[in-house]
Amino acid sequence: MNEYLLIESQDPLESGDVLDHYRLAAELVQAGNRVTLFLVQNGVFPARSSPASDALASTAWAGVTILADGFSLRERGIASRRLIDGVAEAPLDTVVDRLAAGHRVLWH
C-alpha cells in the first residue's frame, strides 16, 4: 500500500480535468492505497455545499480523505461550517508533512 497526496488547485467549473483528478484519487483507493486529496486555491470552491460539490462528495464517499487549505478558504470567504461532509479544513503545513513523510505527491 502506498500513501498519496493529490493536490487540487482548480475549481471543476474552470477546468474539466478536475473531475479526472477526483476519479484518480478514488481509483487509487480502490487499488488499495491511502489517498488524501488536498484542496488549495480555487480547488476549495466545491468544498462548500453547492450543486458543484456532488463530485467531491462522491470522492469522499469512495474513501478519499479530503482536506481544504484554511488560507484558501478564508481568501474566498468560505467558513468551515459551510464545508460539505467528508471535507475538513487543514493548514498548508499538511502538504509539507506529507512530503516529508515520503508520500507520493501530485499537483493538479
Binding site: 488547485s9 486555491q41 512530503l99 505527491v105
Partner: protein, 137 residues
C-alpha cells in the same frame, strides 16, 4: 525537534499572475521555518520570481507615492525564505534555468540564486527526500 528533511520544489509560474507562485512560496516558507534543506528549480516564468531588477512604483491613479503604494516584490519574498531557512538551521538552494532566464532577459537574479540547468533539477531530486512539481496550467 522534527527530523531534518531535504525537499525539492520545481516551479514554473512567474510573479504576480497566478496563485500558484504564492502557494509555492507559502510551502517553501513552511519548510524553511522547519529548518529543512530546500532546493528550488525555477524554470520558465518562475525565473522572474528572483529577478533582481523588480522595482516598486507609485500609483498615480490613486495618488500614492512609491512608499505609500508599497508594491510587493517577489524577489524580497525569495530572499526572505532564504533567510528564514538559514535562521532555522536549514538552507535554500535556488536555481534558475539558464535558458529560461536568457529567453526572458532575466539573467540578473538576487544574491543566493544561481543559474543552472535541468541537470540541476535531476541532482536535486536525487538528493531529496521528496519532490513537488507545481506545473503551470
Amino acid at each position: 525537534m522534527a527530523t531534518k528533511k531535504t525537499l525539492t520544489f520545481a516551479i514554473m509560474d512567474g510573479p504576480y499572475e497566478t496563485a500558484r507562485s504564492t502557494t509555492a512560496l507559502r510551502l517553501i516558507d513552511i519548510a524553511a521555518r522547519r529548518g529543512y534543506d530546500i532546493k528550488v528549480f525555477a524554470y520558465e516564468g518562475a525565473v522572474g520570481l528572483s529577478f533582481a531588477k523588480q522595482a516598486a512604483h507609485a500609483n498615480a491613479v490613486h495618488g500614492r507615492s512609491v512608499e505609500e503604494e508599497n508594491h510587493p516584490l517577489p524577489r524580497r519574498w525569495v530572499a526572505a525564505v532564504m533567510e528564514e531557512a538559514k535562521r532555522n538551521g536549514g538552507s535554500v538552494e535556488w536555481v534558475n534555468c539558464g535558458l529560461c532566464a536568457d529567453e526572458r532577459g532575466a539573467q540578473e537574479a538576487i544574491e543566493g540564486v544561481r543559474r543552472g540547468s535541468p541537470g540541476d533539477f535531476w541532482k536535486f531530486v536525487q538528493a531529496s527526500d521528496n519532490t513537488l512539481v507545481i506545473p503551470t496550467r
